[in-house]
Symmetry: C2
Subunit: 475 residues, 2 copies
């Protein structure tokens, strides 16, 4: 709603003046947490602007979690995001404590596992991998006696450079790559070197839950950017970049988690231009690039970056070997040296063994064969899930890749009871709230079709649909 209002042609200078006026007073503490703000009418009078301008400013402030609305009685100052994190009552009180919401759901053991966007271990190349492990020990007998460099094994980085050039037209050298222990570590390191408390961060709405957690942990001021089946509202993004001067925009433009949407090429190029213009770092997370069903997705944003405004995170854990935890970060920016420092403080380098095993499998022809089979298997599982959901009347956009369906369930279904009853029936899924950067309640759910086998998939979805219908009719 705020979006459409904001993207009209109305004078943005007046808007900015009002927005800044309010935010400055909040940030300077003149207007305090939970204090009621002047009414739209009063402020418009005081500042000699149209009421609509004030209204829009309040709407954006609300979206940015600077103000909230209570019982329609007016606008109030939102409590400081860092302070609200710090609600621990421990013996030894802690500081920037933050939950990992997703992993709390994953802790519940269930048969019908729809909550983890992981690939069924039976679809992974387990047998082959153990061969590569033997090869690694023959080639590098002291691999376990040796630390990796902090940046990562050079042989692996060289191999990845070659791959990225051939496949995505990345012109990078090995010193522009960092090997991390999974994409999660990459996100964490980037948030730590770039974000300080109250910095603005743009996140897709919905977004990857653990990324939301990581940026919140740094005390970021999170501003959501809606993602649609055909991409973003670029005018909205430009407005945010101009008005809010975000430090970074974390995005997952290819088979987006959780929606499965893919941002088209034209928007990708334009986004890189905007990033340069407004000096906003784009952090492109791309774990599903190879998990397409029919055709390859567009080139990553990083392919269009020449000025160092894109950091590209590519995880290989998901579809090669989750047990290895290998991801790479590519960046042309001067931030690499800071990433290296952060990585060295975080864990002194990813284990060498894991990098070498990955290298040898990754460089083999078998990987391509594995991927082709994997795509077919996942495509079939996606279709099974869609078949079982077909009669429900629920809405989703059929994804062309990735591991998830993002489903709109009836608003009459109470999410909390739905989740509890699902757990009781050994079913897990991800409630949409967890994927919302503002953690607002909604009636979306994420179902991953990648983890359990075809029969279980059918049974599990059937059970869930029955359970939902039972719950709905009981209200």
């Amino acid at each position: 709603m705020g979006d459409n209002l904001l993207s009209t042609g109305h004078s943005s200078r007046l808007f900015e003046r009002v927005y800044d006026y309010i935010i400055n007073r909040i940030e300077r503490g003149e207007w305090k947490e939970h204090e009621k703000l002047p009414s739209v009418r009063l402020l418009a009078q005081e500042m000699n602007v149209h009421r609509l301008t004030v209204f829009k400013a309040y709407q954006l402030l609300k979206q940015n979690r600077k103000v909230y609305v209570k019982d329609k009685s007016g606008y109030y100052v939102y409590p400081d995001s860092i302070m609200s994190i710090n609600d621990s009552k421990d013996l030894i009180t802690s500081s920037y404590l933050q939950k990992n919401h997703l992993s709390e759901i994953h802790r519940v053991p269930v048969t019908y596992q729809f909550s983890q966007a992981l690939i069924d271990p039976n679809l992974l190349p387990n047998l082959y991998m153990s061969e590569y492990v033997k090869k690694v020990f023959d080639l590098y007998p002291k691999v376990l006696g040796t630390y990796s460099t902090v940046q990562g094994d050079e042989e692996l980085r060289e191999a990845l450079c070659e791959y990225f050039l051939k496949r995505h037209r990345f012109h990078i050298s090995a010193d522009e790559l960092l090997i991390t222990s999974g994409a999660q570590q990459a996100i964490d390191l980037i948030s730590r070197i770039v974000i300080k408390p109250k910095d603005t961060v743009l996140l897709e709405r919905p977004s990857y839950s653990a990324a939301i957690d990581a940026f919140q942990q740094q005390g970021a001021h999170i501003v959501p950017v809606d993602i649609y089946p055909d991409g973003y509202d670029l005018e909205q993004i430009e407005l945010y970049m101009r008005q809010l001067k975000p430090r970074l925009f974390y995005l997952n433009p290819t088979f987006h988690n959780p929606t499965g949407y893919t941002v088209p090429s034209g928007q990708r190029k334009r986004l890189v231009e905007l990033a340069e213009q407004y000096k906003c770092l784009l952090v492109e997370d791309d774990p599903f690039h190879d998990i397409y069903f029919d055709e390859e997705p567009p080139l990553p944003l990083f392919s269009y970056d020449t000025e160092g405004y894109v950091m590209y995170i590519r995880s290989f854990s998901k579809y090669v070997a989750p047990g290895l935890r290998i991801a790479a970060v590519a960046t042309r920016s001067s931030l690499m040296k800071h990433l290296l420092n952060a990585k060295s403080l975080a864990d002194n380098g990813t284990p060498l063994l894991n990098q070498k095993i990955f290298l040898h499998y990754f460089s083999s022809v078998r990987l391509q064969q594995h991927l082709e089979k994997l795509r077919i298997a996942l495509h079939i599982r996606k279709e099974i899930m869609e078949e079982e959901l077909a009669g429900t009347g629920w809405k989703w956009v059929s994804p062309k890749g990735g591991l998830n369906l993002w489903i709109k369930i009836p608003e009459t279904l109470p999410m909390k009871s739905l989740l509890e009853r699902s757990f009781d029936q050994s079913i897990s899924f991800v409630p949409g709230t967890i994927c919302d950067p503002l953690r607002e309640p909604n009636s979306w759910v994420r179902f991953s079709y990648s983890y359990i086998n075809e029969q279980q998939l059918r049974d599990g979805v059937k059970r869930f649909v029955e359970l939902s219908q039972g719950l709905e009719s009981s209200f």
Copy 2:
């Protein structure tokens, strides 16, 4: 110097009043960075206390880096520690950037590697390890297709509990253990959950360089605690705990890095009592416990902890398999749940493969045999280094375990030139400044005898001694 003054029986209430008076004004910003403070005489007059009381307060403030002394002209307000970190001039400016000082030295490739406290890969059980790897793949064919839980493999945690009970009398259960990717990650996670900017942290002086970096990165106010061959000055520690209310004391009481000193049992018990009394978390880093030459060191502090005031970090990377990166954190405190959250945001769990390989080697009889041989080999290397240094007149305390000699070289030797010339001659070592929590210049150096073989050790130390003597006579 300040220590002796502070541990006298002089009225501590007056002292506290003066100390608090000054610190409050600095913290409230009434006395600003680099502003000159009232003279000892003036403040004593104003507060109606003895000059010695004011002098002592200034000495402690100086030690705590709240004030500094310039040209004997008086005391000045020390610049804010967080601000001074933030000196980056990047395109996209970063926030809490911090160097890892040690890893910068390690980046220089040399033949005579005395700077890395690592064990010569030739002394590690490489051959055996590859057998265990094969065993792991036989036992768990899908080990690479599976993520570990965030807390770490349960089988490994159970095995470690048993080991800790038998060996150190730790009464803990598997849910009081977290598996991390090396001790470095453990330190980083703990600093992130416990420390917020300006919190006071006690660190030994000297200390492990990467730990200093990790706490500085969190914006901690670091207060050094001297370590001596026979332990700490416990009165000093109690004074600091009472006055400065530190959040934690990071310590390495067994074959301490870099000095090799071991804190005696009596002090260990007392420290745990003090920690409880003043609610200060003790973070006990214990990577060298098994690297003793003659007799086993005293029990870890954790053995005396009943109230959750000790976190115990035990790295196994060093002497089993650096390439695996396996460490464990034991804690009885309620902070475990926060550690789990931090770990899950940091990397979602240590790779399962690495944990399983470690488990099978760790549980074998071979480990004990390996350790016995390793101790002898390291003991010999230590003695070779001491022999080669015997004629120099330099001072060190012969360590009873660990990997390092901590050597006092002549004050007339300019450290910077010494390091540069050493690099030129393919020798590396760690200058004492890097190990000083305050990074003040000193004339100590850390030489690790664990990494290069016996002949190289002799040659390298000879070269270094010649080079030093040449440099000294040229001044």
